[in-house]
């Protein structure tokens, strides 16, 4: 096993980034126009990177599979973005954000990266405000904050329940400006289908124009992959339908290591599954846990009666409810980190206390009754009514809730046809985010030279569990404030390279590979749709590589996925042809990669004989059902090399995680 060089700069934690920046090479403005950079993905990380690099003067080509860069799935993030501004004066600091993130990640992330993230978090807010992101404000005109899980300070900036949207539109506006100025060329409805490596360096990509089906060659001096996460390996997730691993996986196939693939975040508050035709799961923002209390009935009979429709949740008295998060974790209560909350919900439902009338009975309540009363009373007092009536309290309380979470409540009602102001929301954990991803060093460069990976697509900052409101932070930090420096440092050696030709054996080979894959799918005489296989993959993953994992289950999963893979190639039917818009073909190529990835995830989970963060191995828990980490044997990032056809043959590279500045401890939210 070779040792991975994470290239962490020397020096004290707080100075690493500054020192590193001071010592990095630069590309002079007059040389930048000679250099091409490809950015794949235009979400927060990719959009921000493309805008920033374009602004600096590089020739940037940006790619997205959607019809516009504004549609990237960063847009769906609801709750907020963390930053160590300490505007609320409640003791926040760069160190505390750093510490919370490391602890939240269950000590499986890289110290130096996380510290840098916390450090630049403040710039993000400044930047976003400067570019017109309409964050929520207080009456005094200053920025408002809210609390999020896993922290004891208020450091989350937000724009109603649409923070991701506003931040993405901010990045999109910066990107649009560069496109308008001709410094970034935008290729929308284009999908990257291969990475071209020449002499060990990333030199371009093969992309398919999704409208015409044309296979295009694009060369560059550096390639940035910011294509998001791979939650769709579970079929049902909160990801967008088009979210996929393909760009990252192609990089992995060409030699980049893929780290911690099994680290998946299962978000506790999603709308439960309701039927077999369901195509995706919908998140209800974590911010709701600020105001909502999570419970199930204390008695199994009550849970059963609720499932059968014989009992309404509102008919149960306080004594008959089990506020299990408050019971188990009094210090953080309903605001424990996501993995903890999700597992606790699963534990209750596995125990027979679930309240949702679906096949798996998986659902718990998120109840706003208490908050409606508290806030209603406060509002009445603020209006000078010190003896408000019951109905007035409720009315004012609901109004408060509406102002804070109105859009989420409306969305819930649209989907479920239930009014969450009157009856508690039903929620259940769902796949939401993937902490794992392409292994990158401190400079966000993968093990392929010149291939950088940013945002959710890399593995770097969140360890085994991501704290709420940190994904937006990481995406923008990578795109705006890290890549422009580190990519420039790399490109400083490329100023004499000259234009990279797309007429080379490497490009030929890559293009042929892509064309072969397309032909193979279109000429397959199969019978079953891509979705049929994708759903089967999802079920295997959810049941065996989901919230609870066991050795036996993982072994099964590895086998089953292997079988599925064979069947997929034998029996998939892809209609249409290669020279037109063909969504089924797009899906087939994505699912092919997801199947390979799924198997690697199981291999990774099987390798990690410990429980940490979102990775819960049933064999490794304490008497109270909490995770049992094994720092002695597994305090490393597991970076896998690609193995064709069989993930069990993938070679593991370990990056030992050294905690110089933080005292590693058991994670405790009690």
């Amino acid at each position: 096993m070779s040792k991975l060089d994470s290239k962490i700069p020397e020096g004290p934690l707080a100075d690493k980034w500054t020192n590193h920046k001071n010592n990095m090479k630069l590309v002079a403005p007059n040389n930048r126009s000679k250099i091409d950079v490809i950015v794949v993905g235009t979400g927060l990380a990719g959009g921000a990177a493309a805008a920033s690099l374009g602004e600096m003067g590089y020739n940037v080509k940006a790619f997205c599979f959607q019809d516009s860069p504004r549609r990237a799935h960063s847009i769906a993030a609801q709750g907020g973005i963390n930053a160590a501004k300490n505007y609320q004066n409640d003791g926040d600091s760069t160190y505390r954000l750093f510490y919370d993130t490391i602890k939240g990640g269950d000590y499986r992330s890289r110290e130096a990266n996380v510290y840098r993230l916390a450090e630049v978090s403040v710039n993000i807010i400044d930047q976003c405000v400067a570019q017109g992101v309409p964050f929520a404000r207080e009456y005094g005109g200053l920025l408002d904050n809210r609390s999020f899980g896993g922290t004891q300070v208020q450091r989350t900036f937000y724009a109603a329940g649409q923070t991701g949207q506003q931040l993405l539109l901010g990045a999109y506006s910066a990107l649009s400006r560069q496109i308008g100025l001709g410094r970034v060329k935008m290729y929308h409805r284009h999908e990257m289908l291969d990475l071209v490596v020449v002499d060990g360096k990333a030199r371009g990509i093969i992309a398919r124009n999704l409208i015409t089906g044309a296979i295009e060659r694009h060369s560059a001096h550096a390639v940035i992959i910011a294509s998001g996460g791979y939650g769709n390996v579970y079929f049902l997730s909160t990801n967008a339908m088009g979210s996929n691993v393909s760009a990252a996986w192609k990089v992995h196939k060409r030699g980049a290591l893929f780290a911690n693939p099994s680290f998946v975040q299962i978000h506790p508050t999603c709308i439960p599954v309701h039927g077999t035709n369901q195509s995706k799961l919908t998140l209800m923002s974590e911010s709701l846990r600020n105001s909502g209390r999570i419970w199930v009935p204390k008695k199994k009979e009550d849970a059963k009666a609720i499932r059968e429709g014989k009992l309404k949740p509102t008919e149960l008295s306080e004594d008959e409810r089990d506020y299990f998060l408050e019971r188990r974790y009094p210090a953080f209560g309903n605001l424990v980190p996501r993995d903890v909350a999700s597992r606790a919900a699963k534990e209750r439902c596995d125990g027979g206390y679930g309240i949702e009338a679906n096949d798996t009975q998986e659902g718990v309540y998120l109840d706003f009754e208490t908050e409606i009363r508290t806030k209603g009373r406060q509002a009445a007092f603020a209006q000078g009514d010190h003896n408000p009536s019951e109905s007035k309290i409720k009315e004012l309380g609901k109004k408060w809730i509406e102002e804070k979470y109105g859009n989420l409540f409306k969305m819930y009602e649209k989907i479920t046809d239930e009014n969450p102001y009157e009856t508690p929301m039903k929620i259940y954990p769902a796949v939401h985010y993937t902490m794992g991803g392409v292994w990158v060093d401190y400079n966000l460069q993968s093990t392929i030279e010149g291939c950088f990976v940013a945002g959710e697509a890399n593995f770097s900052d969140h360890g085994a569990n991501r704290l709420g409101a940190s994904a937006l932070m990481q995406g923008l930090a990578d795109g705006y404030f890290v890549l422009p420096y580190t990519v420039s440092d790399y490109l400083a050696n490329e100023i004499r390279t000259g234009k990279i030709s797309t007429e080379s054996p490497e490009f030929d080979e890559a293009e042929n590979r892509v064309k072969e894959t397309i032909d193979r799918f279109l000429n397959n005489k199969g019978k079953k749709s891509v979705d049929y296989f994708h759903k089967r993959l999802g079920l295997i993953m959810w049941n065996k590589v989901g919230m609870g994992r066991s050795k036996a289950g993982l072994n099964d999963a590895i086998k089953e996925i292997g079988v599925l893979r064979e069947e997929f190639y034998k029996d998939v039917f892809v209609p249409g042809d290669a020279h037109e818009l063909n969504p089924e073909l797009d899906k087939a190529m994505r699912v092919a990669d997801l199947i390979e990835l799924g198997q690697l995830m199981a291999v990774d989970a099987l390798n990690r004989n410990e429980s940490c963060g979102g990775h819960f191995r049933e064999e490794y828990q304490d008497s109270e059902g909490e995770t049992l980490r094994d720092d002695k044997n597994y305090k490393y990032a597991a970076a896998w090399a690609y193995a064709e056809g069989d993930a069990t043959k993938a070679k593991l590279h370990k990056e030992e995680l050294d905690y110089e500045f933080i005292k590693i401890a058991a994670r405790n939210y009690k």
Partner: protein, 254 residues
Amino acid sequence: MATTFINITLKIWRQKNVNAKGSMESYTLDNVSTDSSFLEMLDQLNEQLINQQKEPVAFDHDCREGICGMCSLYINGRAHGPDTGTTTCQLHMRKFNDGDTIYIEPWRSRAFPIVKDLVVDRSAFDRIQQAGGFISVNTSGRTMDANAIPIPKSDADKAFEAAACIGCGACVASCKNGSAMLFVGAKVSQYALLPQGKVEAKERVINMVRQMDQEGFGNCTNTGACEVECPKGISLENIARMNREYLCAAAKAD
């Protein structure tokens, strides 16, 4: 919310590509769960078509939670279907009845050419954005502290309401004139309401409107259809604000 299953007839616009001639085709679909979303119903149709070795219906969609703006569809004569304040992906089949015939058409606008079936090309919106839908600030992260300029909550809230636009194009689709003024008005308003955006407000509105006109959108006649059909409830106030901004900008321009 009892789940029931309904049988429906679908009349769907099929068109091979931008140059081909399209037509409405009829399909029947049985056992559609009323808990399904509209797009899940289309998934079901496509599954049925694929199982018959026929070509599935192409339609745009992505996040399926009403925020990315990728889904479109003119359903029974209305953008995003019969429900208000909703995108097609958040429209549920419980809004329909057993035996219903549902018409599904793409957005119809000269500025949104049809790519295939129900998929249209909305890059005109991107080009409008590129013409001025931004604040010209570099991404250094070192402009000034985010709290350096207090912004009245009401302005910030209004800017947010305008910024909530998801760029889906329902305004254009439902406007009898195919006008994009709600989209442009919302973007102009967002920045016009914030102190950071005021500096280049004049150039912005002139450039964005010029691009909008070049794209071949129709003119606004204040029918208000866009406001009603906008899934994010963007108000006509934003168009008025743009009109105001434009008047000032055009009058003062040199």
